[in-house]
Amino acid sequence: MIRIAVQRDAIDLPAEMTLAEAAGTGGIATFTGLVRADDGVETLELEHYPGATEAALHAVAAGAVARWSLSAATIVHRVGPMVPGDRIVFVAAAAAHRAAALEACAYLIDRLKTDAPFWKREVRDGDAAWVEARAADADAAGRWG
């Protein structure tokens, strides 16, 4: 089961976990990204490329399902304005064995960082600035070949 969502609403983590667990396998690994509360950001805005975003996320999830024989892969990404502490992204990978679930979870978040068309803008002290891409993200995605 692949579940992809790009949404303005808050990410309902219990509901997402219930869906991922419904696949009924041994282990579920998840990663949740939060708007950081510790670096002066007042609001974070996420812009995306409708249509292309969903297709890119689906390709990432399908790649993980095939590579690790997952029973479920979930990617939920929020767009629009957010505040510190809000969930930006939630990914989950369910598999019969934990190593597969854990590796696939890392793959999902690494890949979506480089493959999906999202752009972050941070507002601090009333000034908005686009976030620069990090070379470390390209490196992290690259390790999956």
Binding site: A52, L112, A116, W119, W130
Partner: protein
Amino acid sequence: MTIRMVYFAWVRERVGVAEELVDPPATATTVAALVDWLAAESDRHAAAFADRGRLRAAVDQDFVAMEASIAGAREVALFPPVTGG
């Protein structure tokens, strides 16, 4: 050939519009040539595309290199490196 251009993030802000329809000359056969042509057409485009190294593209919603062909393209997107997740 009319192409729908779509822009995101600071590329969108600098161009000043999120979308526009353009009619590039037949000699503009790649994304890079399309970008060069647009940059020559207006100062706003020139400013938006000034740093080619920070520009990324998609043709009909597939990510491509700047050297990719735009033959038959209906939609070309230009944007900065992505920063999701």
